[in-house]
Each structure stands twice: as C-alpha cells, then as structure tokens.
Symmetry: C2
Subunit: 229 residues, 2 copies
C-alpha cells in the first residue's frame, strides 16, 4: 500500500498538493491542525474538500496547546517580551516554530500508520519567508524525524520553488483549476474562493491567477500563430 | 539575564539536571509535559520539587494530543497495525517520536521567553535506547530548532554519556544525593523515592546508587589507607 500524509489547510497550496498526490498514492491521509484559527470555517472548508475529493482519511488534530506557547500565556510581568522577534504584521498570537510542530506531529502520524511520505505545501517563493518554511529547514526536519523515530521518512514539498502562477498552472494541469478557485480558502478574512479581494493573501492568489491565465493565453496565441505558418 | 529551560519530569535524571543548572543559570524555567501519565502524582512530584528548589517558573504543558496519535486512535479496521515497530515491553499507548515533540515544544518556549539554552536529561547509556534520546538525534534537533526559528538554541544533555552511578555521583557533588533519593519519582509503579523496588526503573536506579556508594566507600578507604602510610 502506497500511503502518504498531506498537511492540509484547505487553502490553494495544500489542495494543489493533495490533487497532485492523488495521482501518485493509493491511500492519502490529510491532516488539518486546529489551533483555534480566527476562522473556524477553515476547518469546515478542509473537511468539505476532503469529502469531495474522496480522501481516504481526514484527521483534524487539536493543537490548541499552541496558545499556551504564545507570549501572553508565558510571560510574567517581570519578563521583558523579546519584541525584536516580531514583525509588526504578525499578530501577537503567532507562535514561531508552528510549522516545526506541525511537521513533527504529522511525522509521528506517518510513522504510526506506516506512511513513508509526508507532503506539505510550504514555499520559499511565497511572501511569508518564515524560516520554518524554507528548503534547508525541511531537509533538517526530515533528518530529525528519520533519526528520532528510526524510520525513513520523505518530506516532499512540491511547491517549494513555484510561483503562485505556477501553482495555478499545476492545478490546471490536473484539470482542477476551477475547483481550486471555488472550493479553497486562502483569504485572511475567511471568505472562500475569490475571497475578500483586499487582504495580502487574496492579492497574491489573484495576481498569480492573472499571471497564469495571461501566460496561457499568450501561449495559446503563439501556438495558433504557429499553426497558421 | 542568563535563562535556561529544563525539561522536567520529576525523576532522578531531570532533577539532577535541574540542580546542576541552578549553578549556572540565573533564571530557570522547568517544563513538565502532561500527557495523561498513568501516575498523576508524577506531575505533583515535579511541582513539589520545583517549589522546594525555588525554580523561577514551572510550566506544565498539556500534551494529551499525544493520545490522538496512538495507534488505537488512528487506525481503522482496514489499516494493518505496523506491529514490527513495537517492542513487547512498550505499552500500546507509547507514541514514538514523543521526545521529538517535547523538544520541539520546549524549543518554542525557549524562543518565546528568550532563553538560549534547553537542558534535557536524556541518556544513551540508559537501558531504553529510544532513537529520540540519542546524541546524534539531539544534535539534529538542535539544528532544526535553530534553523526553523532563526534563533540560536543550545540543547544541553549533561547525562548523555553517564552511567546511573555517575548520575548519583553528580547529585552528591552538589550535596543533593539525599534530596534526589527521597524526593524524585522514577518508579514505573508511581512510588516516590526508593520506589516499588521491583520494576526495571527501580532496579536501574538502585543498582546505580549501590555502585556509586561502593565506589565512594572504596575511594574513602583508599584515601584513609593512604593517610596512614
């Protein structure tokens, strides 16, 4: 049995990973982390996509313990908050190392069900540039999980070097562009599909889509021109 | 401020680490993981030791999500349990990679409070030989946390190459042998101090103590003899 775990948020990236994985694996287990997201519908969206795409198993994992690790929960009045770590755009509830935790939990899950592959949609070309989404980090995390469980585990990051336009191209290649466009949730304001169209996540998604559609049209035009010659 | 995190179970090993750390750090935060241990008194013992040793802060972290990752919680009837991974002596509730998770959470905690040092009492000479307690693993985990949080973190394992006799010697060196002997809980049957004296943990602890006391007496005898010459 060819099994894989997909870390699955119900957004554009992880849904594209899931669709691609369905071409290569017999049994896919999606893992969604519930850490008390602002938008509870994220979980619902993830659940619906898994149903529609007939995913073998969808595990929603409660990681609200992340809240226990937020600065506000940890510090006492006499401990100065290390504010230099924080970007102004990052909400105070953001916990660094979150992706380390998610990969660790998903890795343990992989071991338990006997899956040798773990897929995550993290991406270096993305705007976020979180250190725990970089290639070097993922390689190191793969080593830690393999060593620490004495179990060979492969962490795959199919989107690592793709632009958003290329991620849209990938979805289109699998004939799922419309599905991704309508059924996934990327918007920071919690609006499914095209989203609020004003937050940074919607902007990135929309510009990527436009860039992809423009290049597709351009290519179509070229190939039509070519056919005429 | 010279801060350190000590991963703290209230057993002999982590208490020895704590006592040693108190010589070197101004502010120590102990982290105890509550994963629904068979013996709830483990948590109580840890709490009491922290009070008695006047630890700056004692954080008890709820990691009952580990239970969600046990085989029984994950598998469906049609998924064969990968029984080859399990030693007969390991209870079915044991989750591989547990220490990876603990180090990850403690590492995030360290980042949040601005501690650069994380201390854990894991030991290669111990009987357990869990892969996530080995030196190479700890080195890899240190790299993952440092890379993934872009934060230089040092994981110290003062007991890594010590025998149990040497760990007792360390406690004695800090004049805390009696404290460790009476106040810590190592016993699998949940009995504080000298324990049930029949489980493997009590056996290891007791044999280590006897070996240390014998070597101490021997040395004392030699030095006395020497004085007579």
């Amino acid at each position: 049995m060819n099994k894989a775990i997909v870390i699955f948020s119900g957004g554009q990236d992880s849904t594209t990973c899931l669709i691609q994985a369905q071409q290569h694996f017999d049994e896919i287990h999606c893992v969604t982390f519930d850490y008390g997201q602002r938008h509870k519908q994220e979980i619902e969206v993830a659940r619906n996509i898994c149903k529609k795409l007939e995913v073998y198993q969808h595990k929603i994992m409660d990681v609200t313990l992340l809240n226990e690790l937020s600065i506000s929960a940890l510090t006492r009045d006499d401990i100065p908050v290390p504010s230099q770590h924080y970007d102004q755009d990052i909400p105070s509830s953001f916990v660094p190392g979150r992706n380390i935790l998610f990969l660790t939990l998903a890795g343990i899950y992989a071991y338990q069900i006997g899956a040798k592959t773990l897929i995550t949609g993290v991406c270096e070309t993305d705007f976020s540039n979180y250190p725990d989404c970089r290639h070097d980090f993922v390689q190191a995390q793969q080593k830690v999980l393999s060593l620490g469980m004495d179990y060979e585990l492969d962490i795959q990051t199919p989107l690592m070097w793709l632009t958003k336009a290329e991620t849209w191209a990938l979805a289109d290649q699998y004939k799922q562009l419309e599905f991704i466009k309508n059924e996934t949730l990327t918007c920071y304001n919690g609006i499914i599909g095209t989203g609020c169209q004003s937050c940074i996540a919607c902007d990135l998604r929309q510009k990527g889509l436009e860039a992809y559609l423009a290049s597709k049209e351009n290519e179509l035009h070229h190939s039509t021109t070519h056919n005429f010659l």
